[in-house]
Amino acid sequence: MREKQLSDANLDSFLDRLRGMGEVYAPIRDPAGDVVLAEATPGKSIVLEYSNFPQSAKPFFLPQTQTLLGFRDGRAEDPSLPDRETFLFGVRPCDARALLALDKVFLDGDLNDPYYARLRAKTAVIALACARPMVSCFCTSVGGGPADPAGADLLAVRLEADLLLTAQTPRGEELLSSAADLFTDATPAAVKETAEQIHAAEEQIAPVQVSGSAQRLRDAYSSPLWETASQKCLGCGTCSFLCPTCHCFDMADEVRSGAGRRIRTWDCCAYPLFTLHASGHNPRPTPKERWRQRIMHKFRYAVENFDLLFCVGCGRCIRYCPVSMDLRTVLKEV
């Protein structure tokens, strides 16, 4: 693996090259003051000091609303798939890692999801290692880390006045060679500094007891802790909507005078309507079963089915929960 160095002065030129090939999204401060992954049109100032975005990169691969079919004269037809290349610069490693989980669900051979597959193929991820983990972060306990390259095409680490980049995929190699004149070979000092920085970031992340979660959750299925833990859950769905691996969706038709579309929209297992049968029967009737499902899905069922935790430790569900629910506590208690 050859590390390349990109000086801050050349960052804009690199993004310009990417703009020549497609749309570029990068960390930008929005009017409300949040740093978000937004389109980096020329001249927009890129923020490099941030913890993480409120919303992960998920919407770029699984949009909140996705057209599945068009309807014309009462007949279904394939919608056109996007052709444009997209470059995501500054995705945190946890959010890039989430793509491994989404890939398991949406790219499964026989039943490939064509919409996800296309967006995945057309979107390059340039992850930016995390230098300032938050108190809600626990990536190191779920197989990731502040500089985990999983899911990224390029991994960047920020140094004093440079970025150190390593290609993780052929796509990443391509991006590096397409702008080779902007990069220099990384100096041994830079490589060393990078390693130290990553280590320092890792040190800041408190471990969470995730090991053996599948077995522990199997044993704890009937535990009274689900009742107490879910008592305060409002069923608002914030955790799912912000979760980079939550992928459940609903489908609905929108048709006016014979023309329209079938869409899919994000959905959430915390909603009572999620599993409600037309007959009125609901297999998961209370917040207890619904919240248990969410934890079980991420830390047990996904492990059983794919040998992969469907949690990347980004901590959004903890940070944004209006009633301060914390899955770390439950993982510890089971």
């Binding site: 000091e49 609303t65 108190v135 769905g237 609905a252 929108e254 929209t265 209006p322 301060s324």
Partner: protein, 338 residues
């Protein structure tokens, strides 16, 4: 501004007595949360657990949101000859919480006689987003309250920072006109006067000074962030409808997607359903993961309800809610050819 500590002690004593003397089956309060600038709702049923109760500048959540479900009678129980008795619930209420409880009582979602309301006059609760933003490059490891009631933060590098409370309390608190609970069975601490009774009006007038298209553009820009998670609805104590219009499929009133037209429909309809009922607690805005000012419309509607019908939800428990009543001489200046 004063420290909350004495209130916390009295709150624990009060809750303990209520639970010990079986005056309540359940006490609703707040406990320490894993992350700074937050507390978590706490449900306790035993006097021994009162030590978990806290009272501090982070008790932002409106606990009234839990009442409708605590008093909901399941279909099975309704059919039973002798339905199980309703619980008696004790809870700590701030000004906004008390207003919400009052509306829930008026709307028969919670029986007054089954509630023991422990009121605390509120000095304004912290908005975690404002606090986090005020720290800028720092990350809080812990936060507490100093003797003046300001927020004391320990940052990741060990630095200690004081955040003046006035600067980080929620927008709803800044606009609050009745920080002292309108209804309560006991009041801990002294009543508090509203800080700035004109705040909501000023914000509304400022928005109203823009032209139609400017207002629409602002409104659409704000809503373009909406991801339709419905957290604003879930967090609202007044949104207890079992079958929300916005979930209905026969007919489907509003599309499920993030189409701006559907998003707008959702927010307009929700706001309207809260006309004359919204108590301005701000739970919706705080629950919004995308940081949308969900109170933009509500602020205006509440002022309008007061101007037209002289009503402030939750502050007049014996009055008939304005949209269930009428007067022959209600204004009809808005009519075409009246």
């Amino acid at each position: 501004m004063m420290t909350s500590h004495p209130i916390e002690m009295r709150l624990r004593e009060t809750a303990e007595a209520l639970l010990r003397d079986r005056k309540v089956n359940l006490f609703l309060g707040y406990e320490k949360a894993p992350l700074p600038f937050r507390t978590a709702p706490l449900f306790i049923t035993a006097a021994e657990e009162v030590e978990r109760l806290v009272w501090n500048p982070f008790c932002t959540l409106n606990l009234a949101v839990y009442l409708p479900r605590l008093f909901a009678i399941s279909a099975g129980a309704r059919k039973a000859k002798a339905p199980p008795p309703l619980p008696t619930v004790g809870m700590v209420v701030k000004g906004c919480d008390a207003r919400s409880v009052a509306v829930l009582i008026q709307e028969h979602q919670a029986p007054r006689e089954k509630l023991v309301l422990v009121g605390v006059a509120c000095q304004g609760m912290v908005d975690r987003r404002k606090a986090e933003r005020a720290l800028d490059a720092h990350e809080a490891l812990g936060a507490g309250e100093d003797m003046q009631g300001n927020v004391h933060v320990v940052a990741e590098d060990g630095t200690e920072i004081i955040l003046p409370r006035e600067e980080i309390i929620t927008d709803a608190c800044l606009e609050c006109r009745s920080p002292t609970p309108s209804i309560h069975d006991m009041l801990l601490g002294a009543p508090v006067e509203a800080k700035d009774t004109g705040a909501a009006r000023r914000r509304t007038s400022e928005f109203e000074s823009k032209p139609f298209d400017g207002r629409w553009a602002h409104f659409q820009e704000a809503l373009s962030k909406c991801i339709r998670c419905n957290a604003c609805r879930a967090a609202c104590p007044m949104c207890y409808c079992k079958d929300c219009l916005l979930d209905q499929t026969r007919p489907r009133w509003v599309g499920a997607g993030a189409d701006i037209s559907d998003v707008t429909f959702y927010h307009l309809t929700r706001a309207f359903h809260l006309a004359g009922r919204c108590t301005g607690c701000g739970a919706c805005a705080r629950a919004c993961p995308m940081g949308i000012d969900t109170r933009l419309l509500m602020r205006k509607l509440s002022l309008e309800v007061e101007a037209l019908y002289g009503y402030r939800p939750g502050e007049m428990i014996d009055a008939t809610p304005p949209l269930s009543a009428f007067s022959m001489d209600d204004s009809q200046a808005f009519l075409t050819e009246p």
